[in-house]
């Protein structure tokens, strides 16, 4: 990884990264051009330390923020290893689908690296591929939920949809807990929307591509969640991905049509499907962990 490229990439996302890297920003701002060179020259060799300092704002991350970021990191590892195993599975993915999964795998790998950089020494250890069992058999402790996940592309994308939709809900649930640190919050939002793009694409794949007509919500979903998607790709196992969290008042099911006390259907005269689709819902960490736990040995 080239540190200058990385900093430059972060600058595209976060134009103030140089200012975060050096607190003398008010001086640098008025010496256009010099600031960047000076800041980069001052970058220590340890990349993790740099980012941790920049995003930890020198005073360290609060315990709550570390918890949320490590929780996110755990999910990113789950997703990263899932897509990596899919790409490694002989004959599973080819052509455009392989290209798409490669793009998504790369994003998840980058999320892992980014979160590790922000957390520094507080990051959880890499669990490794061996920690996961995406058949849902928990390493043989129970009957598999998705026995053909790496031999049947349909099953692979069904599981992918559940993981991505869970990821979107998890980040959405975590964001308000990061409100004390705007830099970390914005980074989390910037991951959240990428997960939503992934989820949309996978759903599009599952209904046969962008010209596919949505059918049964479980097998030919829209690119957005409609109602509770009748429980998702495999309702017996995936219903919790679309259902309520704990407590349900704070984390309603995706079928929710009441926002901030307003019943969108009765107040605005729209359909139940439209009202539910227009808003995604957050999920609490415990419910997310219970879902993810199906794939952890």
């Amino acid at each position: 990884m080239n540190i200058l490229n990385l900093i430059s990439e972060i600058e595209r996302v976060d134009p103030e990264v140089y200012e975060r890297l050096d607190q003398r920003r008010q001086m640098f701002r008025h010496f256009a051009g010099f600031g960047k060179k000076l800041a980069v020259a001052a970058v220590p060799l340890a990349l993790g330390g740099v980012l941790q300092k920049a995003y930890g704002q020198s005073s360290g991350l609060s315990e709550q923020i570390k918890f949320v970021l490590n929780f996110a990191l755990k999910l990113e590892y789950l997703e990263y290893y899932f897509y990596q195993m899919g790409l490694d599975a002989p004959g599973l993915l080819s052509g455009q689908l392989r290209d798409s999964v490669t793009i998504i795998r790369n994003d998840e790998r980058n999320h892992v690296n980014f979160l590790r950089s922000v957390l520094g020494s507080a990051a959880i250890p890499d669990p490794g591929a061996g920690a996961f069992d995406f058949t849902g058999a928990k390493g043989g402790a129970r009957a598999p939920l998705f026995p053909d996940v790496f031999t049947n592309a349909g099953t692979f994308f069904a599981v992918a949809q559940a993981l991505e939709d869970t990821g979107v809900r998890a980040y959405k649930g975590g964001a308000p807990l990061l409100i004390s640190n705007n830099t970390v919050l914005e980074a989390a939002l910037n991951i959240h929307s990428v997960e939503a793009r992934h989820a949309s694409h996978i759903r599009t794949v599952r209904r046969g591509g962008p010209q596919g007509i949505p059918g049964p919500l479980t097998s030919k979903p829209k690119s957005w969640i409609s109602g509770d998607d009748n429980g998702g790709p495999a309702p017996m196992y995936t219903a919790p991905v679309y259902g309520p969290g704990m407590p349900a008042e704070a984390y309603p099911s995706e079928a929710n049509v009441t926002q901030a006390g307003v019943n969108l259907v009765s107040v605005f005269g729209v359909s139940t499907a439209e009202a539910s689709e227009a808003f995604d819902e957050p999920l609490d960490p415990n419910t997310v962990l219970a879902i993810a736990g199906n794939f952890i040995k």
Binding site: Q26, M27, E186, P210, Q259, V262, V267, F268
Partner: protein
């Protein structure tokens, strides 16, 4: 109606703590860090410039004046009005799409997509307007869009504009999210932005399958989507608003 907004606001303010309402946080942080005198003087210059901009923006407020701008305001209601302005623009765009020549001859799948998205954006618009009013804020006026640069009879023109609006919406919510003080409002923005991202990905896949994520919107080094600051969003949105309806975001929190 809107009880959740109201009940939570006091707790929200408490929870936001010193980081929430304090707009000059960085300024104070740097004085605390013992910055050199020139730094302080230069920071002072920035504030004077800001005040000058604010008073100029406030002075141009007469009706039927093409130089007049619609200021979205300050604080959380300013952010919500900023979002409301964007949702007005999106809702008006999709309403126009449904009346246009492209839609009339579009594939069945594309008709369903645009019909859904139009409904979602209309709901976002109406919800934000009602929410701002119910919580004691004042929604900005109805903006007059200018879609003269879009050919509603052309599939590529409509899809290209839809991509621009959806990508802009995602980058705008991502950039404005951290400026929100009240975690309830932040949560609501989060519920909307992921739906915008789902739209953006599908519109992009309609233009070319597999372009749901590209380097112009998502960093290939960090995997993070790129935010836009409200001022950047406003200048892009203003290309689609008539003179007299252009938005000004100068009073929004900057950090």
């Amino acid at each position: 109606m809107f009880e959740l907004f109201k009940e939570s606001s006091a707790a929200a303010v408490a929870e936001a703590g010193p980081n929430g309402p304090l707009k000059r946080r960085s300024f104070l942080r740097f004085t605390g860090a013992g910055v050199v005198l020139t730094g302080l003087m230069l920071a002072g210059c920035d504030d004077n410039q800001l005040d000058k901009e604010l008073s100029e923006a406030a002075s141009s407020d007469s009706k039927n004046d093409n130089n007049r701008v619609v200021n979205v305001g300050s604080g959380d209601f300013g952010i919500l009005n900023f979002a409301y302005a964007l949702e007005q623009l999106e809702a008006a765009f999709y309403a126009q799409v449904l009346k246009g020549g492209y839609y009339a001859s579009a594939s069945e799948a594309e008709k369903l997509v645009f019909k859904d998205i139009e409904a979602h954006e209309r709901i976002h618009r109406d919800f934000l307007k009602a929410g701002i009013a119910a919580n004691g804020g004042t929604p900005i006026e109805d903006l007059e869009p200018d879609f003269s640069s879009i050919n509603f009879g052309s599939r590529s023109s409509v899809l290209g504009a839809a991509k621009a609006f959806e990508d802009l919406g995602v980058a705008a919510y991502n950039g404005a999210g951290p400026l929100i003080s009240n975690p309830v409002y932040l949560g609501l923005a989060g519920k909307i932005v992921s739906v915008e991202a789902r739209h953006a990905a599908l519109i992009r896949d309609l233009i070319q399958f597999g372009t749901f994520v590209t380097p112009d919107v998502v960093s290939q080094s960090t995997g993070l989507e790129m935010s836009l600051r409200p001022s950047q969003v406003a200048s892009m949105a203003n290309k689609y608003l008539k003179p007299g309806s252009k938005i000004n975001v100068s009073k929004l929190p900057r950090e």
